[in-house]
Amino acid sequence: MRHLESRGFKWVSLVALWAAAAVPVAKAAEKPAKTVLLATTTSTQDSGLLDLLVPMFEKETGYLVKTISVGSGQAMAMGKRGEADVLLVHSPSEEKQVVAEGFAIDRRLVMHNDFILVGPPGDPARIKGSKTAQEAFQKIAVAKARFLSRGDNSGTNAKEKGLWRAAGLNPEGQAWYQQTGLGMGDTLNVASEKGGYTLTDRGTFLALGRSGRRLNLAVLLEGEPHLLNIYHVMEVNPAKWPKVNAAGARAFSDFMVAKKTQDAIGRFGVERFGSPLFTPDAGKDPSSLGI
């Protein structure tokens, strides 16, 4: 075994170690012009929609899409810092602000689904039968029923906070109002475990309900016009952040509103859930959706 102690062997093995370590680094040296950084919400990822659309886009255009799935709030913060190329989010009032501040351009309507209010099947706050979301929220506050909020500045969280405001209530700091800081799937699990109410998008609720574990939650309010969940795509402004892949962002944005993609969106979910999870809306007049 003398050769194992020789200097040559030691150096060769050291170099081999470094080379092995360098492999992932080398693999990572992809051409930046071909990469598109998509910052999006957890709902588009968790529902599985992007697992369908992104490969379609990559095949069509040859771009490599890096989908960074965080809440709408974080996605837009990334956009404002130029850390993403294109945003697919569902927080309309914050989106309009980002565009007004000049950080995003070309905001286009893509699709919508709806939010629903779910809660324990026993419905301790008796919100079933409420005409509006505001009415339901008021009942929850009066009954001091446990409510789980995402508390993470996501699109869903923004919608929920807007509904509390519209109901003239401020639940912050109350013992029954609990904020998880987690994504929709995790928050639904918490609500199911703790017997609390929560606001969720229909897509994630359906997707979770179908998996191994049944959620102990019932749909208590749906179909109310204020509960529409609307998605837009917008490109990060290359004038503010020259390093963004403007061409790639444009290509993705065009792809999301293209007819073929919109058709795919409209069919998504039918096989698994019997009804589509999203309604394609590209090109429609936004006011027809009530926003």
Binding site: V23, P24, A28, Q45, D51, I68, A207, G212, R213
Partner: protein
């Protein structure tokens, strides 16, 4: 309980059927954490040995900093590394955010203090006269260092396993600097978090089982190396 059994069954099925995505995720976990461990071993053992053997002013302070580094929260490392690697950050020009390289960097930063700290302890634990004995036998300085490292190989290997264990299991930094991009930076830990969030508990448990099996296999190999030519 049957959820866990289901998960184990699912794990075996995924591995047996050589499910491409799961294989890719597993391989990437191994590559990334293996590379990070390799880097941390090279830096940790060499610097650790140097710190342990050489007398210098401020040694106590340096050693305590290294020991503190052993407990560095991975998510904090992930946050700071991602800030460095942002496009607008100082190292943004490298363009390696959301690539496996970024995860390797973050995990190396997490593992190096672990390996270094254990190395320092191991080297300082050697009998103090051993150095003199080896030198008396006619060894050069470098040969002496080499023999001391060989003498301390039992605890040093433990340090390597601790470093590997620390990074194969971490998720905070991997998510922040890797982005959990499908087919690209998705590793076992980040995939488990994602599948849990989606409510796919069976897949999440399956991935956990695979991760545990991976840890066990790697550590078994390392332990065999550590324990070879020990009297039985």
């Amino acid at each position: 309980m049957d959820l866990i059994l289901q998960g184990i069954a699912q794990a075996l099925h995924l591995l047996w059927s050589l499910d491409r995505e799961v294989l890719a995720i597993t391989l990437l976990s191994l590559e990334v954490s293996g590379a990070a461990t390799a880097i941390s071993v090279v830096i940790g053992i060499s610097l650790g040995t140097a710190i342990a053997l050489a007398p210098f002013w401020g040694k106590q302070l340096v050693v305590s900093v290294v020991n503190t580094g052993m407990g560095l929260p991975p998510v904090v490392v992930g946050l700071f590394v991602s800030i460095l690697l942002w496009r607008s950050g100082p190292l943004g020009f490298l363009g390696i955010l959301y690539t496996p390289a970024a995860i390797v960097i973050a995990q190396s930063i997490i593992a190096t203090p672990i390996v270094m700290g254990i190395t320092i302890g191991a080297m300082q634990n050697l009998p103090p006269n051993l150095r003199l004995q080896i030198l008396a036998l006619g060894a050069t300085r470098w040969q002496m260092v080499w023999w001391l490292v060989k003498e301390a190989r039992l605890p040093l290997m433990a340090g390597v396993m601790a470093g590997f264990g620390g990074v194969i299991s971490e998720v905070g930094a991997s998510i922040m600097v890797g982005g959990n991009v499908k087919g690209y930076t998705r590793v076992l830990t980040t995939a488990t978090v994602m599948e849990t969030g989606r409510g796919n508990f069976d897949i999440a448990i399956a991935l956990s089982v695979i991760l545990l099996a991976l840890c066990l296999s790697v550590n078994y190999l390392l332990t065999m190396v550590q324990q070879r030519d020990r009297p039985r």
